[in-house]
Each structure stands twice: as C-alpha cells, then as structure tokens.
Subunit: 359 residues, 2 copies
C-alpha cells in the first residue's frame, strides 16, 4: 500500500492506494465521526462492491443510495435523490457520506456533502482509474447544467480517499484508456520523467500490471496533490490541470454528456492543445509528436468527433470556467513537463487548429 497526504491546513487528508483496501475498516473508521453513514453509488458499481463495503462498515447505521449510472444523470434531480434519502432516514449533521464509484458518483456525493445541512463529512472510494487519479483528489465537486459541465458545484475536500486497485479488474478497456488520459496529462504538464516512464510502460499499464498501475496512480495523485495544495481554489497554477479540458468539455457538451467518455474527450483535447502549442512555436515538434503518440498508444482518440465544426467549439468554449471578463484562456505547453495558462496567444493560431476539425 502507498499513502500520500494532500496538504490543505485543517482540511488536509490522506490518500491510501493499494489492493484490497475495501475490506480495511481501520482505514475508514478514523474518518467517520458519528454513527450514520450514507454510501452513494450507482447501479453499475453497486452489484460489484456495495455488499463488500457494507460488510466492512457493519458497525454503523448504513443508508445505501443507488443512482443511475452515467454523466447524463449528473444533474440536480439525481442529486435530489441523495438529499431525499438523507432526510427520510433523518441523517443529521454528523453523518458521513461515502462515494463508491467513478467520477460522476464522486462529484455528486461530494457536492451533496457540501450542501447537506450546509456541509457534512465525506470519504471518496473511487473505483475507476479516471476518478482515482483525477476527481478524487482536490475537492472539486458539482453537477452539470445544460449550458455547461460542472457549472454548479463547490470546492469541498473529503476526509480521506481510499483507492482499491482491485476495483480496476472489472473496468472495461475503454475506461482504462480514459483513465490513462489523465495520467498522461500529469506527465505533460509537470513531469517529463514521468512521461518517459509512461512511454516505457504503456503496454503493461493497459493490462493493469498491479505494481505499475499502483505506481502510476500514486505519481499522478502526488502531482495533483502538489498542484492543488499550491492553489486550492484555482486562482492560478491549478488551472494547468485542465490541459485539453477546454477542448474536451466542448466535445462532451456537443456529443451529449456520456457519449464520449471524459478521458476520451480529454485525450482528443490534449492533442489539440499540443498541436496549438507547436503552432505557436512554443513546443518543439518532437515533443508534440511524443505526446500525441503516447495518447494514441493509450487507446485514445487523437481527433475530435467528425461533424463537430469550428463554430461548435467556439460557442461551447465561450462558457468555460477559465474565461475571465470575456477572454478565453487555454492551458498550453512550453515543453514536455511545463504548462502555462494563458490568454496571450494569436487568435489566428486557434483559428487554424479549429479549421482542421470536423473532417
């Protein structure tokens, strides 16, 4: 088992990574203040892991809430199911919510915890590779709005994160690739050595080699934890974690949430960001090629969906949360391992990238 800490003063919390953690009550108990525990999961994960977690938590008063699966349900009416269950069961302020599932379950459970009676404790048990390396670290919670992804939410930190790598055994290959997209991102924005390590081990990582995947998750979480600790509320450097996401969110919104997996959209979005960084003369062509190559080898798309046009991107990117006073900012690369957030680029270069899409 590996352990690291996200350092946020009185909101600091541990991340445990390893096999079989779902059975270890000693990792959970210190983070549960009262007797009431509400386990939020979805109808894909519930048949796989809910009973096991309930056995681990047998000493508590348990309330399971099973949501419909998928990004399409990451909205207010699904969130309301959590509130209804908590209120019907009379869960009070000392209750602890546990998110058991992927990023959608984590984001909604975290936001429910942030809002229920103005804030209760929660614990993340992410079961997908993507949520293990991304949404479970950093406290971003929320739901989608028809006009944009994650537009309604809160910064709200969990008390602890448990990453049981055994849960990856049931994950479809497509979702493994989606998780690798975010892992690749950490190398690109912050750690060229990690990028080289990923180039070396990509085939084994796709096969979920236990030691290698644990290492990849731990290094990803460590990079994210470091960035989040430096800038919890995304006033500055934290925005680099969004490499490929402005393009990617536009792809997800255009296709309808859930059609493309988040990681797939980020994969194609990172390719666009890499190419734009190259066209601006910032990123050497060889680095750009290496980045795109690794994304392809992870089994990810390297171009946006056919039929999505430049104007679709422009319209959907205009509501991005990184837009400030009307100006679009993008995360771009100076070199492998170094990202910047900037509005200081020639519009013509973005136009050129967008002119190439849809074909």
């Amino acid at each position: 088992m590996q352990q690291l800490t996200v350092n946020l003063d009185d909101r600091s919390y541990p991340i445990h990574i390893g096999a079989g953690l779902l059975d270890q009550i000693d990792l959970l108990a210190p983070h549960i203040a009262g007797k009431q525990v509400c386990i939020v999961t979805d109808d894909t994960v519930a048949p796989l892991y809910l009973e096991r977690l309930c056995q681990t938590l047998a000493g508590y008063s348990l309330l399971p809430v099973i949501l419909p699966t998928g990004e399409a349900f990451k909205n207010w009416s699904t969130l309301q199911q959590i509130f209804d269950a908590l209120l019907n069961a009379r869960h009070d302020r000392r209750t602890t919510l546990i998110a058991l599932g992927g990023g959608v379950v984590g984001d909604m459970t975290g936001f429910a915890a942030a809002c229920y009676q103005r804030g209760v404790d929660f614990i993340q048990i992410p079961t997908t590779l993507l949520s293990q390396v991304d949404s479970s670290v950093g406290g971003k919670t929320g739901i989608n709005h028809p006009a944009g992804k994650n537009m309604i939410g809160a910064f709200y930190q969990p008390r602890a994160v448990l990453i049981d790598t055994d849960s990856l055994k049931t994950l479809p290959d497509r979702e493994v690739s989606a998780g690798l997209a975010e892992i690749i991102k950490y190398g690109l924005i912050r750690d060229s050595g990690f990028h080289a390590w990923l180039e070396e081990h990509m085939p084994s990582l796709r096969k979920l080699d236990p030691a290698l995947i644990t290492e990849a998750i731990a290094r990803s979480c460590a990079i994210k934890a470091e960035v989040v600790a430096a800038d919890e509320r995304e006033g500055g450097v934290r925005a680099i974690l969004n490499l490929g996401h402005t393009f990617g969110h536009a792809i997800e919104a255009h296709q309808g949430y859930g059609t493309w997996l988040h990681g797939e959209a980020v994969g194609a979005g990172m390719v666009m960001a890499l190419e734009m960084s190259r066209e601006l003369g910032w990123l050497p062509a060889e680095d750009c090629r290496r980045g795109i190559d690794l994304i392809a080898r992870a089994g990810l798309p390297t171009a946006p969906p056919r039929g999505m046009l430049a104007d679709d991107f422009r319209q959907l990117m205009a509501v991005d949360k990184k837009v400030l006073d009307g100006q679009l900012r993008l995360v771009l690369l100076r070199q492998l391992g170094e990202a910047v957030v900037t509005a200081d680029f020639e519009a013509a270069v973005l136009d050129g990238i967008l002119a190439g899409v849809g074909q």
Copy 2:
C-alpha cells in the same frame, strides 16, 4: 452611518448601516472585482429599489434577475433561474452577485454565489428589518427542502453588507414586527442591557424612529458578528442564535412556508423556549414574563397556531439541524442575556410545553 466588521480572517467583511446607502457607489465598488454584476431581487422589491441600484452601478455590465416573492419559492427551481440567467449572459468566475431584498433573496443569492462555477463573490443589500439583523450577517445560505427548512445550503460569506435604513419605509408593519423578533432574540441570548433598552424604546422602534432603529440594527449585527466570529460553522456557541428557531421552524413547516412570517414563528417559538426554561427551573419567572411581554409588545404572536398539535412539533423537530445522533438539542435560557444549547433537559418538561399547544 455606522460601520462594523465581521471578523473571519481572510473572509472578514464590513457592514455599513445608515440612510441613503443605496446611492453610494464608493461603498460598493471596492467589493466588485470584475465588470459583470448580477443583481438578484424579487418582484416586490424590484419596483421599489432596482432602478436606483442600477443607476448607482451604471458603470458595470448589469444583469437583473427578478424572482417571485416569498419563502414558498425558496427552492431549487427558483435558484435555477439565477443559474440560467448567469449562464445565458455568460457571466464568468469574476462576476459579482448582489442580493437586493429580504432573507429569501439573500439566502438564495448567497447559495447561488457559493455554487456558481464553484463560488463567486456576492454582496448583501438587505431591505427588510429581519434580513438586516439576521440573514445578512454570518454567511448562512441555502434553500428549503419539502422535509425541512434550509436543509440544502452552504456557509458562504459576502464581501460586504449594505444596510440602507431608508428601505424600511416601505415595509409593512407585520414585517417590522417580524424583524423585531430577531432583535429581541439578541438581548435574550446575550445582552440583558440591550433587552432593557428595547423595553424602553419598543413603541418608537415599531414606528421606525431613524436613530433608534439604526442603533438597534447595529447592536444586533454586532452581537451576531461576535457570535459568528467565535464559531463560523456552528460547531458550538453559534447555535444559541437559534433561540426559538427549533419550535419556529416546526411552525413554519407545519403551516407551509410563507404563511407565518419567519419572525412571527420565531416569536412564538421564543415564548415556548422561555416557558420551557422557566419550567426547568433555570429562568426566573420574572425574566420569563419580561421576555414574553416584550415579544407581545413587538406585535408578535405568543403562541403557536391553533390546530398544531404536540405530535406535529415532535415530528417536525426531529429533522432539526441541531439534532445530533438522534438527540434533540434546544437553545434555552439560564437568565436574561444568557443562553445555552443543550440536550440535557427532562423530556417530561418538553412534553409539558407541547401538551399546552394546539388549544
């Protein structure tokens, strides 16, 4: 003009109290970071003050959002109107929300600010006496759930509060009394000298004597600010601000939100808390009489609605946010000016108080 500060480290903010503040851009401008301002108000307050505020803020890109009036609309679908307007107008993270109205507008605008793009700035301009002395100080925001009041929300502090006492001139007498309920509360829980001052000036306060009402608001806000600074997230002492509210919330929920004004329900609830404190042998009978007398002289009800039975109270109070691990806690008085939050009372005494209702 009086000014005081709510001390909450990097979330500290000023409260300005006086006549004609709505026209003073120099009190607002320092707290607006960007160019976009969204003024949220309701269809009662909009015809009275919206245009004036828009004139004051003429230099900004303004987005007015006019909600239906009343506690009955303090729900998700009304909140959604704010999000829809912000997204349609492409307001970004640097937008500032301004709440222009009573407690419902303030609670919903604050919660919208807490959640929009995971948190944007907001300013409170409370226009009712109740919101001026209560909800505009302390950062409690939220909406109601059919199963309980303010069950969904956040602790989220405004950047500034502007209390323009001129706005009280258009307030119905019934709402003046409702505001006085919370003012009386501050004396009861924390300041017997203030209680005596209120006894002396109650007739003039009901007539909104400018100097006296400014003084009453300032003293109320100062007491609340002091309690909130000591316990922002209501881990302990802050709960004393809920004197009469556990009973009061049950009354509101039973009657349907908006039938009784919040301050009226709190008035009747404080009478129940005073009587219970006397029955427990904690509060001298003379102090209890003085408290009830002042509540009556403020024009407030001193008994719950006819037809509301003991079991109605029991059921509705069981979901109170002060319930911890299934145990009901109440705010009670040791003497005039000293409140305690406790679960340590004989159940029979509560039963006795409840046995007296509904007649």
